[in-house]
Every structure is written in C-alpha cells, then in structure tokens.
Symmetry: C2
Subunit: 547 residues, 2 copies
C-alpha cells in the first residue's frame, strides 16, 4: 500500500484555508498514485483550536468542510484529523478528537482519541470525551490500526502518565499489518529522540511498522517540528519528513517497505533550536498577515540574537532595530549595535531617550524629593523605550518583539511595560546559557554578532556600572536551577547536592520565581522550546504563600 | 447532630496559616458543643491551588498538616477538604480532590470527588483522578452521605454538563439522614439562586436535608461568596451563612432541624456585586501583604468607581488618586476628579503630562514628518500616565490598579502598557452598563460620585472633542452583545433578531473581540463576577482565522 504522509502547516480556525491545503494534498496523493493520504491530528482546525470548538457554528462549519473533503476523494482513501460532535440522548452535545476514514467519496468511520492529554500546555479533557478503543480499519484487503498522538505515548513510560488504561495493549489482541498515528506533537529540545523511542517501543511491542503524520508550524506559543516518520516493526526509523517545514512523504508499506526520501538525519543541535525559533516567529507574523517587526537593539546579547532570528524570519527590509541610548549607554553598545545592524542589513534608527528621561526626572523631582535613586529611575528608562517602540509600531505598522530571555523572565529581572513589552517573546523560553550557545552558533562561520557582545559581562545599562551579576546569581548556576526546578520538578535537596550550593541560594531563586508570577502573567506569549515554558503550560497562583 | 459549618477564607498554599484557621474552627466547634465541624473543598490548600499540587514537597506538607489537624480532634469529628495522594502499583502517584473524615484523633476515611469540573476557570482533570462513588459515613449512629461541590451540580441540569454518570442517582439506593457537601463554588451575578436551585433539586430527589459549606474570599480572579447553607428535605433554605465574609454557622440536623442564624435573605443586587469587588480587591492586597493602591483618576466614571471600591477595600489613607491632565483634559474632569477625591478623603495628587508629552512629540517630530496624527499620539499619553503611576508605585510602594472595564477590554478600546497597566483589573469583568449601575447605587443616599461624572458622555480625552461613541457602538447594545456572545454562546441570528440590529454590526464587534485577544493576553487578572470573564476561563488563540 502506497501512503502519502501529508505534513501540513494549518492556521488555527482557518477552515477554508486548511481545507485547501488538504485538497491539494489529496490531489498530490492521486498524482503520486497513493492509495491513502494520511493527515495529522486536528488538521482541519489546526492544533490547538482551544475554545473555538465550544462554538456550535464553528463545529457546523467543520462538518461542512468535511463534506467538501469527502467529495474530493474519488478513487483514493483519506484519513484526516478533526473534532467531531456526537449527540447524547439528553440532547446534549459532546465532542471527540477524531480521525475520519474516507474512501472514494464515502465516509466510512470515525476513530476517537482515547488518551486525552490534560497537563502542561494540553487541555484536551476540557473539550473532548475519551474514545473507547483504537479501531482497526482495512483498505484493499490490508488491515491497519488507527491511533491519535497520545494513544501511543502512554504505552512505554517515556513520559509520566496517570492514565488507567492502555489502548496499545488492547490492540495486541487484534490482527493488522501496521499502525497509523495522527499527531500534533509539539517540539521541545530533545523531543524528537523521545518521540522515536516511544513509537519504537510500540512498534516492537505490536511487531508492526508505524506510520506517523505530525503537524508542522507555529501556533502562538506552540511549535510543531513535523518530522513525520515511518518506523519498521523493529522500531528502526526508515523514512522521515523534513523538520520545521511542510513536506510530502510517500511510503510503500505493505507487502514491503520503501519510501520517497532517504532517511533524513535528525540532529538535535543549535541549528534545530534556531530553526524552531525562526519558524515560530515567521508563523506568528505570517498567519496574522503581519510583515514588519521592530525591537530595541541595546548592544547586548539578547537583542542581538533577536535581530538575527527576526531577520531570518521576516527578511532584512522588514526589520527595524531601534537603538535608544541614555546617559548610561556605553560607547561599545553604540558601536556594536550599529555594527550588528550593518552585518544583518536591517533598518537601524537611533533615538536618544535623554530628553524624555530628563522631562520625567524634572517633573518628578519635587515629588521624589528626599528619596534615593533606585529601581524607579531604571524602570522609567525601560518604559520610555517601550513607549517609543510602540509609537513606531502604531505609526508605521511594526509589531514590537520582546527581547527578554527565560532566565530574566523567571526572576523578574525585567521591567513590566518596559523591556517586557511586545507581541511575542521569541526568547521567553531560552535560558541565558542557550542565548550564548545560539549566538556562538550564529557566528560559527563568520562574525555576524560582534564578538564583544558575546564576551562582555551582561548589563542592562540602566545605571552607572551596572552588571547583571550585581543582583543575579551566576547565570550558569541560575539556569541549572531553573531547569531542575521548573522542568524536572527536582527537590531542594537534589539541587543543593547536584549544584554544590547552599539551600539558601536555591530558596532565594525559587522565591523570586514565584514572586514574579504577577509580571509574567502580563508577559507576551513565548515560543515554547522546553518541556516547561512560562505561559499556559505553567499555572500558578499570583497570590499564594507556599513559597 | 450538631454541626458547625466553618466558612473560612484560606490563602492559597498557606498550609500553616490555613491549618491555624482550621484548628481555631475546631476549637470553636468544641466550645459550641458541636459533634462535627464541616469545612469547604480543599480548605487546607485554598482553592484553586493550581500547579502547586504537582509538587511532591507541597503534597508532603499537606500530609503533615493533616496529622496536626488529626491530633486536634479529641472528642469531636471533622470533615475537611484537601488534595490527597494515592500510589499506584507502577510506583506512579495520582491525586484526588478529597474529603477526610476524622473523629476523636482517628483518621477514618477519604471520600473522593467524582465529577471533576474541567471547563471555564476549572482545570480539575489536569490534577485529579475521579472518585468512584459518594461515600456514606456514620457518626454517633447517624448516617450521612458526603459529596464535593460538582458532584451535586450534575444532577439537575441547572448547568450544562457532559458527565456520563450521576453520583446522586446512585446515592438514591442507600439509606442516610442527610447529605454533606464541601464546596468551593465561585461567585458570579445570579449564581446564588442557581446554586440553591441545584441543591434543592438534589435534596428533594434524595428526600433529605443538605448541609453545604462553601469557601469565602478572593483568590486572584476567583471570588467566593460563602453563603454556606442548610436546606431541608423539601429544598427550602433554612439557614444561611453570611456573604463575602468568614462565618460560623451552627445547625442541629438530626433528629430535628434548628440553627444559630436566622435565615439571612440573600439578595442579588448592586450591593452584593459591590461587596464582591471590594472583597476581591481587599484579598488581593491583604493576602500578599500589600497595603497601598494608586490609580489614574481621570474625571471619568470608571476611575471614579475604582476610587470608591479601593477606598472601601483598603482605607482612604492607603489610596492615591493621581490626576494627570493633558491639553485635552476638560475643566470638568479636573473639577470632578478633585471633588470625588475630597468626597472619599483619599490622597489626591495632580501631575500634568504636558511637558513629557511635548518631549515625545518633539523627539518624534522628524521621524513622524509627513504623517497624520492618529492613535499613536493618543497611546503615548496613556503610556506616559502608566509610566508615572508605575514610578509612584516603585518609589513609594503602591500597587497600581487598572481602571478599564469589560466592554473596553472586549473591544481593545484601551492602550496596552497604558491604561491597561496595573496589578489587578477590578472592573475587568464589569460591563459599562454595570459601571453605571454601581455608580448610581453608590450615590443612592448622597452624591459621592459627582453627578456630572455619571451624566456626561464617556470620553478618553486623548484628542480634541473625543467621545467613546466615535469609535464604539452604543454601550447598551454593545454590552448586550457581549453578554450574549461571551457568556451565553448565542448565534449571530439570535443576536440580530433579539437586539434588532444588523449582522454586520454584530460581526464587527465579534471580529474586534477576537482581534484584541493579543492585548488581553497581557492584561492584569480581572475580578470574575460573570459566568465568562476574560482571563483563564476563556482560552482563545491569538493567531487564528476563524473570526
């Protein structure tokens, strides 16, 4: 059987546009003599559609599009992910996260997702009912089992799950030639290897090949890496679609295995992290019909990295770097900001904030009489810069992107309504260590980011001789603690032992993380690249006394 | 049997502090010769504890506190809500939302919540496993059934539910004298009547009295109104604890019914809405150890209402009203702002934004050459005001509260990092119509809010002769559409028919609601007083093409 794995990048809620992508893929499948075209989970709505599925008119529109797709399946079979309604006896409506099986203009059956992830960024039990069991369908006399994303993950303990049943074990009692899986499995660093491990365990357990079609593209915070694949019954990866872009992968699976692409080596390196950020940025703009970005270029490393990513995502001519010096800005910052903008060929503009800063200081002088300079004056500078960036955005149609990183966001080392301002926090899930790693990787062939930017001590330049290290622990320790606490849920004892530091230091960091929940609640969405990003996947009270 | 209903106001995660509240209530119960002290759902952690329960050290601390509580129950019984861990065979841990039954220093049993709300603001399936069935326990030979909040709501169709089983129906087959319910049922306008209706249906169905203990107090966005009650077996309300404050309610229930309080009439009027906002504001500050609030007093109605609420919540001497006029501010605004501050005896300070505004305009003049004045210049003014408020907050320890209402937030008629700035949006779930209703109610005995503030046409005063009606539909139509669309999920056809307006007008409003998702994502938490507030209860993608 010849299968086209259609790895597509849908726009959330764009039912007509997504249907066009689907119809093109079906036509492509027909042209390539495929028997079956396999799509990803919820491809018709895009994943995650969130509360849109609770809207009856949205679900009616989904059903209408399905009819259009059914009409387009003459002489070909299609398995497509979409939400479906079912009507209970008491007139109430329930929803399932389903796969529809269509062949030669006939709708044949639905198979419903059984295990509904409801943790981290996932809220599926908010919307969907659980399916009963994975179905086995047949086409041209060949039988295959159908699963949806999480249904597979439960089996092998690659991920901590608390489901009380295991649909893969039940499949063991049935006969079929291979397993299909429709996924919307988001990217994070190291996820691909885990995904292959989870699926390989299942293919070995069931002793059949597995064909997985994953979503690709960025939807708000969530980044999908694609990399749809075919595993043989020994769990070996035999074919793999491209990462971070749409792709068509043709495979032959029964009675033998062959495929259109060579096995693509899937490295996890700085390059893939960089690609993920570029894709997420590009899709955030493109899917909203936005074109131009601006940001504050400071001469520091975070904004330098943002400049590189945004240029790659949108094109140099769409990017405005605003250098906004104050009395505290160093000559090196000015020199390096300009040099970087020249290296990248992005638009560079310099506006001094001094005159406005002076206006604030003189207006507030009588009110602030007999007080000391403190963070107040620092924040005013950051907020002037945000106001200028937003003015450029309002007047000329730019979208401001935020330059803060995860380490800053964690400890609140940033100004609310100041450097935290922007539509998207590209680096909001990137630790300071990763910022350095990416910057060095960008410079691997030639010096794009001026070397001094990478080598200088980090400083916000909001007062004389300020250094990040005045108020923050060493970034390498800080980042290790952040990963251990936020992503790995490690205990205080474990961290103190592992990082050879006092519990007081760790306790102080944890306190600062929780004390800054109120700031992060007003942060822009971040591009998620770890197993635990700030944002919808981490839900903590602002008002609390645990920490 | 004599029962003390302990209606308490816990702080999220304050395990030691909440334990103290619990121990005091047990002592109080003993003093009042109660047989049993009944607490609310998750009283030990506060509701909702969110991701804190995923932390193993947090759950260990819960278990330690439970031991302390057990020790305090000599000669008295206690039923208390808390999260509990259970350990599966495969070494994994699952959590239940439980009631613990303790008597005379002995832990007797757990009863687990069966129906786990996972909609709107509720995420219980993210954390908890479902209990199997409602338990029947006995004390001094009297048998009673135990339920937790949602377990009751499912039964009667007061609320749309999609649960596939009904724990109340199963209880029908068992014998007991009354039903206990531990609740954390949040306030919204009209909710009390619905709550009584839901519980009354159950008491009539089971033909027994019901005793319900509800949480009280504000936790971030969620407001709990208390009003714990006793219903007799005909569904009549026989005793009711106070609204919006802690209360002890002693009832005798078996073999006869009597109670300590007279039945307190529970009106749903402007007074209760006002009390809810005051409680939410007060708890947001008090539970964080914050004391002082500041905000921009504009001479308009929204900031006037905020002034009244914040004064009531924190005391006049803790409240700073900053009047920040520009060239566009009217004489009436100045006059009325000052008059209101005098009426309320709050601190009043005037700072003109003109000099700073001038600095921005002259700095940007060359860059904005050949462009027209537009929303850019309006936003600069709003952002200067936010920067000044935040400077006062940073320098003197105020917390900025936001003055925007739900109607503005819905349509994005507000400036991000400008008038949207603040730690808490008191009025973020209050429509403009409700703002007027509350203002008139405040003036019911004497003119606290200067009449002209209520009677003038609303204006942001960000350009000459600006009126809200220049860019917004009439507020009464707008608010009706907001309620119908956001809270009631009405169709376009229904709204066009009901409000006698064109579909184009409605479509435009709906488009603006969705187009401003990006702004609201960065809004402060709102105090939730409707069935659908902006914030965690409404989850919509920013990047989407459905609307």
């Amino acid at each position: 059987m010849r299968i086209l794995i259609a790895q597509l990048n849908p726009i959330i809620g764009d039912l007509k546009g997504n249907t066009q992508l689907i119809l093109q893929a079906i036509a492509q499948g027909r042209a390539m003599q495929a028997d079956l075209v396999l799509f990803s989970e919820l491809i018709l709505t895009g994943y995650p559609p969130e509360d849109l599925v609770l809207n009856a008119s949205f679900m009616r529109a989904v059903e209408e599009q399905l009819q259009e797709i059914i009409q387009a399946t003459a002489d070909i079979a299609v398995i497509i992910g979409l939400p479906r309604r079912a009507f209970l006896k008491n007139q109430r409506t329930v929803l399932f996260n389903s796969a529809a099986f269509i062949h030669d203009q006939q709708f044949l059956d639905y198979s419903d997702k059984i295990l509904l992830p409801t943790y981290d960024v996932f809220d599926e039990k908010r919307y969907f009912q659980e399916g009963e069991k994975a179905k086995v369908w047949s086409l041209h006399g060949v039988r295959f089992a159908v699963t949806i994303c999480e249904d597979i993950w439960q089996h092998t303990g690659v991920q901590a799950c608390t489901y009380t049943h295991n649909p893969i074990e039940k499949l063991k009692q049935q006969a079929f030639s291979f397993v299909l899986n429709l996924s919307a499995s988001p990217y994070s660093v190291g996820k691909f290897a885990k995904r292959v491990e989870a699926f390989a365990n299942v293919s070995r357990f069931l002793e059949t090949p597995i064909v997985m079609c994953n979503q690709v593209g960025g939807n708000d915070s969530l980044l999908f890496d694609g990399r749809s694949f075919l595993l043989d019954s020994q769990g070996n990866i035999r074919a793999c679609a491209k990462a971070f872009v749409e792709d068509d992968l043709i495979i032959e699976i029964e009675p033998f295995i062959s495929f259109s692409h060579a096995v693509i080596e899937q490295k996890e390196d700085w390059s893939s992290l960089y690609q993920a950020l570029v894709m997420g940025t590009r899709d955030y703009f493109r899917k909203q019909g936005l074109k131009k970005a601006c940001f504050g270029l400071s001469g520091g490393i975070d904004s330098a990295l943002v400049a590189c990513i945004v240029k790659e995502a949108l094109g140099a001519e769409q990017v405005l770097a605003l250098y906004m010096p104050s009395r505290y800005s160093s000559i090196e910052s000015s020199r390096d900001a300009l040099q970087l903008a020249q290296n990248l060929e992005i638009i560079f503009q310099q506006i001094s904030i001094e005159s406005i800063f002076e206006s604030y200081l003189s207006l507030l002088k009588p009110i602030f009489a007999n007080t000391k300079e403190d963070v107040t004056e620092e924040n005013i500078q950051a907020r002037i810069r945000a106001t200028l960036l937003m003015a450029m955005a309002n007047k000329f149609g730019y979208v401001v992107v935020c330059t803060g990183n995860k380490s800053e966001l964690a400890l609140g080392y940033s100004t609310l309504y100041g450097d935290m301002a922007g539509g998207l926090a590209l680096l909001g899930d990137i630790t300071k260590q990763q910022v350095y790693g990416l910057a060095r990787w960008i410079n691997r062939k030639k010096e794009i980011i001026p070397l001094y930017i990478i080598e200088r001590s980090p400083s916000a330049e909001l007062r004389d001789n300020q250094k990040d290290s005045d108020t923050l622990p060493d970034y390498s320790l800080l980042d290790s603690i952040l990963v251990a606490y936020l992503e790995e849920n490690r205990s205080m004892e474990w961290m103190a032992d592992q990082f050879d530091c006092s519990k007081d230091v760790i306790q102080d960091i944890i306190k600062r993380i929780h004390a800054n929940e109120y700031k992060r609640r007003q942060a822009p969405p971040v591009l998620r690249v770890s197993e635990k990003a700030f944002g919808v996947g981490r839900r903590h009270p602002i008002v609390q006394r645990w920490v």
